[in-house]
């Protein structure tokens, strides 16, 4: 580690803070969301500077990309409601008190950052010595799929529950129906043509990013986001309709990832004597066997989370 941060780092840090201030201070909600997307992209650069090449694409794809898209869509639909009613606006005293509180929190955290012990405690050596048992080359993937696989497993369930929560908001009369409005392909338009061109390429890129994750930066979350983005694009360009939420294949696709994860985890009791343990000889094979359906499930969940609750009834 260098002793002094580069000018680049200092500039980047100030840029991140500036965009964050913009996101909070902007009067117009749409402008604030645009600021947030920029914030996410700048954070991506920060992750690269922090030697976290696996986090950077996740931040770009999910933290900035999908989240940003979701918020942009929401701010457009909520247009006109975003000026607070007179009674809602906090008074000057509350604002001052809030500012004081938040300054204290930030200052305290900053002091703690400076107080953190030297040399820093780390699990990197342990992660390195054990990585051969997982057959993987990327330590972050080893953490996600082996050392702390239970987190990743429960996280896929978290995503699924969020989707169930979103679906639960559908009016009863359209339950089982299709999410979002139906987009129709404009036969003379450029969009369907471009989308037809981009979607297969994007799918390929998504699969590549997922596949490379076992040895190099990349992995199921980053790959799945790209797959999801392609699906959303195809829906918005009118190439395909969103699937009705009562479809059995859709439900199967959604739970396939966590289900296979659970199944192989339980098989670990028989194969290696513990839940989510892999016998060394088959570790990589088993991990990939889990990752493929998990990637597909996550991609489906992400795409459907963006699509929203059912709005059109089954005919």
């Amino acid at each position: 580690m260098t002793d002094r941060p580069l000018a680049l780092d200092i500039g980047l840090a100030f840029l991140v803070l500036g965009v964050a201030v913009w996101t909070i201070a902007a009067r117009d909600t749409f402008a604030a969301v645009v600021g947030f997307v920029a914030f996410g992209l700048l954070l991506t650069l920060v992750w690269a500077r922090l030697a976290a090449p696996d986090v950077a694409p996740t931040e770009a794809a999910i933290g900035s990309g999908v989240t940003g898209g979701l918020l942009l869509g929401a701010s457009t639909r909520l247009h006109g409601t975003q000026t607070p009613a007179p009674g809602e606006k906090p008074g000057a005293i509350l604002r001052l008190a809030a500012a004081a509180l938040c300054t204290v929190v930030s200052a305290g955290l900053a002091a703690i950052v400076l107080l953190l012990p030297e040399p820093a405690p780390t699990l990197a050596p342990q992660a390195a010595t054990n990585i051969s048992a997982t057959g993987l080359g990327n330590p972050v993937t080893a953490v996600l799929m082996a050392y702390r696989a239970i987190d990743t497993l429960l996280e896929t369930v978290v995503l699924l529950l969020a989707l169930v929560g979103v679906w639960s908001l559908a009016p009863d009369r359209v339950w089982g129906g299709f999410p979002g409005p139906r987009h129709h392909a404009d036969p003379d338009g450029l969009l369907p043509f471009m989308a037809q061109l981009l979607v297969p390429v994007g799918l390929l890129v998504g699969i590549y990013i997922f596949w490379v994750g076992s040895v190099a930066p990349g992995g199921e979350f980053q790959g799945a986001t790209i797959l999801a983005a392609m699906w959303v694009l195809a829906m918005m360009a009118g190439l395909v309709d969103a699937p009705a939420v009562s479809r059995r294949w859709l439900r199967l696709l959604l739970v396939a990832g966590p289900a296979v994860f659970f199944a192989i985890g339980l098989a670990g009791f028989a194969m290696a004597g513990a839940f989510l343990a892999y016998p060394e000889a088959y570790a990589k094979l088993l991990i990939v066997t889990i990752e493929v359906p998990v990637t597909l499930s996550i991609a489906t969940m992400l795409a459907l989370l963006v699509a929203g609750p059912p709005e059109r009834a089954l005919r």
Binding site: M1, V33, R49, A85, L114
Partner: protein
């Protein structure tokens, strides 16, 4: 001061900024945005801690880095659920406010 400390301080400032937004903005969408800013700050802090733990030939401690990936995905699910609730509320009432009598 290394870049880890620098970005750690940056994360600390982001947490405060987001907290401020969460308190003073009455509109739910702005609150959701502010929550994401706090999240960004927390993850950045964790990333700085990971960078400090660079060892064994890794540029950073892989455990926190992996946890940040999990955290980003969880934060996204939270945002998606909150946005869906907000849009449904808007559909139902024509308003997007947390005021109970609104």
């Amino acid at each position: 001061m290394g870049e880890a400390t620098l970005y750690g301080l940056c994360g600390a400032a982001l947490v405060g900024l987001g907290l401020f937004g969460l308190i003073v903005h009455p509109q739910p969408l702005r609150k959701i945005l502010a929550f994401n800013l706090i999240g960004g700050g927390v993850f950045l802090l964790f990333g700085a801690i990971a960078r400090r733990g660079a060892a064994a030939g890794f540029g950073g401690d892989p455990v926190p880095q992996a946890l940040v990936i999990t955290g980003i995905v969880v934060a996204f699910s939270a945002t998606a659920l909150a946005v869906a609730l907000l849009l449904r509320l808007f559909q139902e009432t024509g308003q997007a406010t947390l005021h109970l009598d609104g």
